[in-house]
């Protein structure tokens, strides 16, 4: 019972939003990509690379600004490579994504070792982090202030991105083209749309959002880069995107659902359950969540069929 009261406490909800941020950012990226008809499995690796290069660029550039530039640039470069191989050289997207993830694991540890002499983390470097923001009026409201104010800058950016991605996809010509290309590339191509160009842009936008997600991990959530720190969040984001039907609002909701179990695994460690079971909780929750969602989808599809038959 103690646990339930803790889950309802502002502390937990604050942490919940904290752990949801990287998943949300990456899932929004995945949403843009999949609306344009590309499943980007390289989220995991892209986040990892931008997490490291954000930290390194902030150290060598001497300011947070250069960290941001470095992190975003690395994510864009990786995404451009993905896009080039997938779109221009006709490589299968799952294999491209796996290639990015494989290379990213090695690349980050390798570069980390060259830069710091260590393979574990970047704690020896004095890197910059994104500041936390106190929101003027809201912070003075009792419970709501505790929950909503004082988060990392990128957390607010992530929430803003939900709106921006929504506007991009549903209110701009580019978004309309992306959805058309994703829905039916041949039809879009037949009316003169350049499928490759539009998908390329979608993948780059996805890369930028991923870059923010990766940097949040190493320059906000923690203040250093740790090897393999993404730990499957990229894949969870992919699941969140498909459960949210690639719609920014749906993606936000399903990211929050998956992040809930991530947060839960953080606090359950005080209980006397073997820690391995607690560690597997976010991944298990993702499988179950996707399954429940798909069951519901297939029930809806069946009902539609029935109605059509009756009509």
């Amino acid at each position: 019972m103690n646990l339930i009261s803790y889950i309802c406490s502002p502390d937990f909800i604050f942490m919940w939003i904290r752990v949801a941020t990287p998943i949300l950012l990456a899932a929004l990226g995945a949403a843009v990509c999949s609306k344009a008809g590309v499943v980007n499995l390289g989220l995991e690796g892209t986040m990892l690379i931008s997490a490291l290069f954000g930290v390194l660029a902030s150290v060598y550039g001497g300011s947070l600004f250069w960290g941001l530039v470095g992190g975003l640039a690395s994510a864009l470069i990786v995404s451009a490579i993905f896009a080039y191989f997938h779109l221009i050289l006709n490589a299968n997207n799952v294999l491209c994504g796996t290639a990015i993830n494989t290379a990213a694991t090695g690349l980050t540890i390798f570069v980390l070792q060259v830069a710091t002499g260590e393979k574990g983390n970047s704690s020896s470097l004095k890197s910059f982090a994104f500041p936390n923001l106190e929101i003027p009026i809201i912070k003075d409201i009792p419970v709501i202030g505790e929950v909503l104010s004082g988060h990392n800058t990128l957390t607010y950016v992530a929430l803003l991105m939900v709106v921006l991605v929504y506007i991009l996809l549903y209110k701009t010509p580019l978004g309309l083209r992306m959805r058309a290309v994703g829905e039916n590339p041949d039809a879009a191509s037949s009316v003169g749309q350049n499928v490759i160009k539009i998908r390329f842009i979608a993948i780059l936008i996805c890369g930028a959002l991923n870059g923010l997600g990766g940097m949040y991990l190493s320059m906000g959530y923690l203040n250093m880069f740790v090897r393999d720190m993404v730990a499957g969040r990229g894949f969870i984001a992919l699941a969140a995107c498909s459960m949210g039907q690639s719609n920014p609002i749906g993606t936000l909701v399903s990211s929050m659902v998956f992040a809930f179990f991530d947060g839960l695994s953080n606090i359950l460690q005080v209980l006397k359950i073997p820690s391995e079971f607690i560690q597997m909780l976010p991944y298990l929750a993702t499988i179950i969540g996707l399954t429940v969602y798909s069951i519901q989808q297939s029930v809806v599809a069946k009902q539609k069929m029935k109605k059509q038959k009756e009509a």
Binding site: N90, L95, I109, K119, A239, I287
Partner: protein, 359 residues
């Protein structure tokens, strides 16, 4: 027709040679950028693995688990599914073999067979989960299999920590396996074990299965064009499920063979990632089971070279992961050299047409 086949083979061979050359070139470029003593590092990387019998043995030992996971990947991808379960099936296989090796009392010849068989069963069960979810409710097997890999990893470590742990050891290690469970060393002076032979046998069996049985043919048709297969009356979903179960069993047996052949305790605190590396090996083998030993040996060679280089120079072994990622990109790039292939096919077709006209 015949000339087309020849052109395909020629282009494929050139492409592979090109990719291997690019990989080796990339190694040199990276080493020269970061190393203080590049020649030493390069010597250790390329020549190091061949300097003693033991090291050549290391290449084959490193290739052995990759043979199993690559075969699993070939079957899964061959059926048109993108399940990444080879990774999880391999790891659950290792823990299955560990349980059998510690808990059972069996005579020497039978013990490893039972243990590896049990490992295969566990691998098949794990692979069945994403396959069934996909078949029944159309849940993306790609995401569920990757998530399941994490679940399996933690579950295996739980088994070691809570049920088979060596209490006196400070680092994580299981109890020692019974002597009867160990796989025999087949070549003196190395650690090459009978699991390697099992891997080679499986390669041949898998080739026979894919290219000489009716189920294998159905599987390949399903993988090439599942709609065509469906309208031809094949039970597509069952073929896909069965393919993943067989793949899981193969990867699981690989895990068992690796554990019993190379170790006397279970010491992994995280999955060694052979399932992911298996994808590179499978692609490099052009999805042909008979070429798997060769491509596994090549990837094994890169890994052993990287290990030796990391020990004897200032370049880290993680470089090999970068190389593997780049190779995966290049192999997957269907359009690479496609223009050249196209021109040759057109030329051959024109020549044939010309002959017919003359005749």
């Amino acid at each position: 027709m015949n000339s087309n086949k020849r052109i395909h083979l020629l282009v494929d061979t050139v492409k592979m040679a090109l990719i291997i050359a690019i990989a080796c070139g990339l190694v040199s470029v990276i080493v020269f950028t970061v190393s203080e003593e590049p020649m030493n590092a390069i010597y250790n990387f390329f020549i190091g693995p061949f300097t003693s019998v033991r090291r050549i043995g290391n290449i084959i030992e490193a290739a052995s688990p990759l043979v199993f996971t690559a075969l699993a990947v070939i079957i899964i991808f061959g059926s048109g599914q993108f399940s990444m379960i080879a990774e999880g099936a391999f790891f659950i296989g290792t823990s299955g073999a560990m349980m059998a090796a510690i808990a059972l009392d069996l005579p020497a010849g039978i013990h490893p067979i039972v243990a590896i068989g049990f490992a295969g069963v566990l691998g098949a069960i794990v692979a069945l989960i994403p396959a069934l979810l996909k078949m029944r409710w159309n849940v993306s097997e790609l995401v569920t299999s990757i998530m399941l890999n994490y679940v399996v990893q933690f579950f295996a470590i739980y088994l070691v920590n809570y049920h088979f742990r060596e209490v006196s050891s400070s680092s994580m290690a299981s109890l020692e396996f019974k002597d009867t469970s160990r796989l025999q060393v087949v070549l003196d002076g190395t650690r090459i074990h009978s699991g390697v032979i099992l891997g080679l046998v499986l390669c041949v069996l898998m080739w026979l299965f894919l290219y000489r049985t009716s189920f294998g043919t159905k599987l390949r048709i399903t993988g090439d064009n599942s709609l065509f297969a469906k309208y031809s009356g094949l039970k597509v979903t069952w073929i896909m499920v069965l393919a993943q179960v067989i793949a899981g069993a193969v990867a699981g047996m690989g895990g068992g063979a690796e554990l019993l052949g190379m170790y006397n305790r279970f010491k992994w605190s995280a999955s060694p990632g052979y399932g992911w590396t298996g994808i590179v090996v499978a692609l490099l083998a052009r999805k042909n089971p008979l070429l798997v030993p060769l491509s596994a040996a090549f990837i094994g060679y890169l890994n052993v070279g990287a290990d030796i280089m990391a020990r004897n120079s200032d370049v880290g072994r993680e470089m090999v992961d970068i190389i593997q990622g780049v190779m995966m990109f290049l192999i997957a790039a269907d359009a690479l050299l496609q223009g050249w292939k196209q021109r040759m096919i057109v030329k051959a077709a024109k020549a044939e047409a010309g002959q017919e006209v003359q005749a």
